[in-house]
C-alpha cells in the first residue's frame, strides 16, 4: 500500500499544489478585502481544506459535474472556475459567473461542470444524484461529485440520497469534507456513530475515510471511486477528514474550538506541507514554487481589480432569468 501511495506522478502532485496555492491565495485576499470593507460579503473560508478538491479535481474532466456548498470556493477553483468570475460574482457585478445574481453562496459555472452551489445544508447530494442519473441514462461516462460537510450527514437528504444512489448504482461520489465542526457544533457531540464513512455501510455503499489533508491519499481514494463510478460499479462515499482554520464564517473567532485543537491543526497545515513535499522530492524547486506563488498572487489581485471595477448589473436583470421566457414574468 505504501508503495502504491508513492506511485503518484510528480506532475500530478505539482498540479495539486498549484490548485491548493491558488485557493489559499484567493481565500486570503478575499478575507483581506472583506475585512477592509472592499468586498461586502458573508464569507465561509475553506482555509485548511484546500487539498481535498485539488486532489479530486485532478482526476476530473471539465465534463464531470460537481455540486457544492456555501463553503465552496476551493471546490470551484479546483474544478477550474476562473477566479475573476468568482470575484466578480462575490462583488455582485454583471461580469460575475452568474451576473451578480447568485452571489458567494450560489456560484454556477457549467462550462467547468460546476452545476450547483447551494446555501442549504445537505442539498448538494440529491441534485448530484440527478446529474449522475443523467449520465447513467446517456451512458456518457461522466461522474458527479457532491461536496458537503459533516453536519450535512445528519440531514435527511443525505440518507435519501445515499440509498437512492446505491439502489440505482449511480456514477456519483459523495465527498464529506469533515472539518470537525458544523457551525459551532462539534462533530463527536452531535453525530452518532464513529464516522460518516461508516454510514455508507448501511446503504451497501463503498465507503472510505481518508486523511483529506494528504494529497496522495486523497488522490488515490478519489481515483478508485472515480474508476468505480465510470465503470458502472456505482457510488462511493468518501469521508475526507480535515479542519477549517477560520471558523464558520468570517468574523467567527472559533472560541468554541479548544485552543490546542486549533493549534495542532494549524501546525499540520496541509498546504505548506504539500509545498515542502513537492520541493523535497525534487518535483519543483523552491524558486519555481515562489515564481508560481507570485503568478497566482498577481492573478488574484487582477481578479479583484476586475471585480471591483466591473459594472453593476442593470436593473432589468431583476426580472430576467426568472422564467425561461422573461416576457412571461408577471409583475
Amino acid at each position: 500500500m505504501q508503495n502504491a501511495l508513492r506511485k503518484i506522478d510528480g506532475c500530478v502532485l505539482s498540479s495539486i499544489l498549484e490548485s491548493a496555492l491558488r485557493i489559499r491565495c484567493n481565500d486570503e485576499l478575499i478575507r483581506e478585502s472583506a475585512r477592509s470593507g472592499r468586498l461586502n460579503i458573508i464569507y465561509y473560508s475553506p482555509r485548511g481544506q484546500e487539498i481535498i478538491p485539488s486532489a479530486i479535481s485532478e482526476l476530473l474532466t471539465d465534463d464531470d459535474y460537481i455540486c457544492t456548498i456555501y463553503r465552496g470556493i476551493h471546490d470551484q477553483i479546483a474544478k477550474g472556475v476562473p477566479p475573476k468570475l468568482i470575484w466578480a460574482e462575490y462583488a455582485g457585478r454583471l461580469t460575475g459567473s452568474c451576473k451578480g445574481k447568485g452571489g458567494p453562496m450560489h456560484i454556477t459555472y457549467p462550462e467547468k461542470g460546476v452545476m450547483v452551489t447551494t446555501g442549504i445544508v445537505g442539498s448538494s447530494l440529491p441534485i448530484a444524484n440527478g446529474l449522475a442519473l443523467a449520465s447513467q441514462l446517456r451512458g456518457d461516462g461522466r461522474v458527479t461529485v457532491a461536496y458537503f460537510g459533516d453536519g450535512a450527514s445528519n440531514i435527511g437528504a443525505f440518507h435519501e440520497s445515499l440509498n437512492m444512489a446505491s439502489v440505482w448504482k449511480l456514477p456519483v461520489i459523495f465527498v464529506c469534507q469533515n472539518n470537525r465542526y458544523a457551525e459551532h457544533s462539534r462533530f463527536d457531540e452531535f453525530t452518532a456513530g464513529e464516522s460518516v464513512a461508516r454510514r455508507g455501510d448501511a446503504y451497501g455503499m463503498h465507503a472510505v475515510a481518508v486523511d483529506g489533508n494528504d494529497a496522495e491519499a486523497t488522490w488515490h481514494t478519489a481515483r478508485a471511486a472515480i474508476d468505480r463510478a465510470r465503470s458502472g460499479d456505482g457510488p462511493t462515499l468518501i469521508e475526507a477528514n480535515t479542519f477549517r482554520f477560520e471558523g464558520h464564517l468570517l468574523g467567527d473567532d472559533s472560541a468554541y474550538i479548544p485552543r490546542q485543537e486549533m493549534e495542532a491543526a494549524k501546525a499540520a497545515d496541509p498546504v505548506p506541507r504539500l509545498r515542502a513535499d513537492v520541493i523535497g522530492r525534487g518535483i519543483l524547486t523552491e524558486a519555481q514554487v515562489v515564481e508560481l506563488e507570485r503568478k497566482i498572487r498577481r492573478e488574484a489581485e487582477e481578479a479583484r481589480e476586475f471585480a471591483l471595477t466591473s459594472d453593476w448589473p442593470s436593473l432589468d436583470e431583476l426580472s430576467c432569468d426568472v422564467l425561461a421566457n422573461s416576457s412571461e414574468v408577471v409583475q
Binding site: 454556477t108 449522475a132 443523467a134 437512492m164 432569468d321
Partner: protein, 342 residues
C-alpha cells in the same frame, strides 16, 4: 410529436386518467430526454396507485419509467439534477401533502436555479401531484397547496378541469423550460370528455372561457370549475348569465383574459378549493380591484376552502370547500347588492 397519426384509433371521449396516461406516453415516445420517476409508478408496482402510469414501464422500460424509493427529496433532487443536465424529467409526488417533505428542493433549488445562475442553467422539471377533498382522506392527504408554489418566483403552476386539457397541459408542461407543478384532482380521473388531438399541447399561461356569459365572471380552476359550471347552469335558469373561466395555468395566470371578461361583466367571483385566506383568489382579486377601482358593480368575492384542516367527518368535509350552491348564492347576493339588478 409522433402521436398525430395515432388519432385514428382514439375514441371520441376519454377519461382524465386515460388522457394523462396518453400525454405521458406521447411525451416519452416523442422525446428521448423525457423520463418519469416516482413511487410505485412502474408496472411491477401496479403502474401508479391510481394507474395513471400503467403500461408505460412495459413500453418504455424501467430506466425511463423509474420507480423510486419513498424519498421525496431525493426524487425531486434527481429530477432537478437530470433537468440541469438536459433531461425533461416528470416526477410524481404521490399526493400534494407530501411535497412538504421536498419543499427545499422545489422552493430553494428548482424554482431559483435559473435566476441564481444568471440564466446559465434551467430546470425543465414537471412535478405531477394529486389532491382534493371529498374522499375521506382527512387532514394530511387532501390539501391544495398551489398558492405556496405560485408565490415562489420561477415556478409555473398548472391544473385542468377536463380530459382534453389534462392531456394538452401536461404535454405543454413537459415541453416547457421552467419547473412546473402539475396538479391533478383526485376526483377527476374518471371524468369523461372529448378526446384531445394527439401531440398538440395546450399553451401554458392561457385561460379558457369554458362558458361565455354577460352578467358575472366566475374565475376558477381544477375541480372547482365543474362546480362553477353547475352554479352557472342553475343561474341561467334564473336569467343570470355567468361567464366561467378556467385559469388552467395558475402561475403565471392570464390576466388579460380576466380583465377582458370582468371589463364586460363588472362582477367577479373567484372560486378555489384551497383555503381562502392568503390564497390565489386574493392575488387575483387585488389585481382586478386595482384595474377596475370604482367601475365594479359589486365588490369582488372570493370563495375557498374553510380555514381549517380538511375534516374527515362527511358532513364537515362536504361543507369544507365551496359547492355549486355557495357559488350560486354568492352570485345572487352580488346581484342583489346592486340596486338596479342586472
Amino acid at each position: 410529436m409522433s402521436g398525430g397519426s395515432e388519432t385514428s384509433g382514439m375514441p371520441a371521449e376519454i377519461t382524465v386518467g386515460e388522457a394523462l396516461n396518453l400525454a405521458l406516453h406521447d411525451a416519452l415516445a416523442a422525446d428521448p430526454n423525457v423520463f418519469l420517476l416516482g413511487e410505485d409508478i412502474g408496472d411491477e408496482q401496479g403502474g401508479g396507485i391510481l394507474g395513471v402510469t400503467r403500461g408505460l414501464s412495459t413500453t418504455f422500460g424501467k430506466a425511463r419509467v423509474r420507480a423510486t424509493p419513498i424519498s421525496e427529496q431525493a426524487i425531486i433532487g434527481a429530477g432537478i439534477g437530470a433537468a440541469l443536465a438536459g433531461f425533461r424529467p416528470v416526477a410524481e409526488i404521490m399526493l400534494m401533502n407530501f411535497v412538504t417533505v421536498a419543499m427545499d428542493m422545489l422552493v430553494n433549488h428548482a424554482a431559483k436555479l435559473r435566476f441564481m445562475s444568471g440564466g446559465q442553467t434551467g430546470v425543465p422539471l414537471v412535478v405531477r401531484t394529486m389532491t382534493g377533498s371529498g374522499f375521506g382522506n382527512g387532514g394530511q392527504h387532501s390539501d391544495y397547496l398551489e398558492a405556496w408554489f405560485a408565490h415562489v418566483p420561477g415556478m409555473k403552476v398548472v391544473s385542468y378541469s377536463n380530459p382534453a386539457d389534462a392531456y394538452g397541459l401536461l404535454l405543454a408542461s413537459i415541453r416547457d423550460d421552467d419547473p412546473t407543478l402539475f396538479i391533478e384532482n383526485l376526483g377527476s380521473y374518471a371524468l369523461k370528455g372529448p378526446a384531445p388531438q394527439r401531440g398538440v399541447p395546450t399553451p401554458l399561461g392561457k385561460a379558457a372561457i369554458v362558458r361565455p356569459g354577460d352578467d358575472v365572471t366566475i374565475i376558477s380552476y381544477s375541480t372547482m370549475v365543474l362546480r362553477a359550471l353547475a352554479a352557472a347552469d342553475s343561474l341561467a335558469r334564473q336569467n343570470i348569465s355567468c361567464e366561467v373561466i378556467d385559469l388552467r395555468t395558475i402561475a403565471p395566470y392570464d390576466l388579460p383574459t380576466l380583465v377582458a371578461s370582468v371589463g364586460r361583466t363588472r362582477r367577479a367571483v373567484i372560486v378555489h378549493e384551497a383555503v381562502r385566506k392568503f390564497g390565489v383568489g386574493a392575488e387575483i382579486a387585488a389585481d382586478l380591484a386595482g384595474r377596475f377601482h370604482g367601475e365594479l358593480k359589486a365588490p369582488i368575492v372570493r370563495l375557498g376552502g374553510n380555514y381549517s384542516a380538511v375534516p374527515f367527518s362527511k358532513p364537515l368535509e362536504s361543507a369544507y370547500a365551496p359547492g355549486p350552491k355557495q357559488i350560486e348564492e354568492a352570485v345572487l347576493a352580488m346581484i342583489a347588492e346592486h340596486s338596479d339588478g342586472l
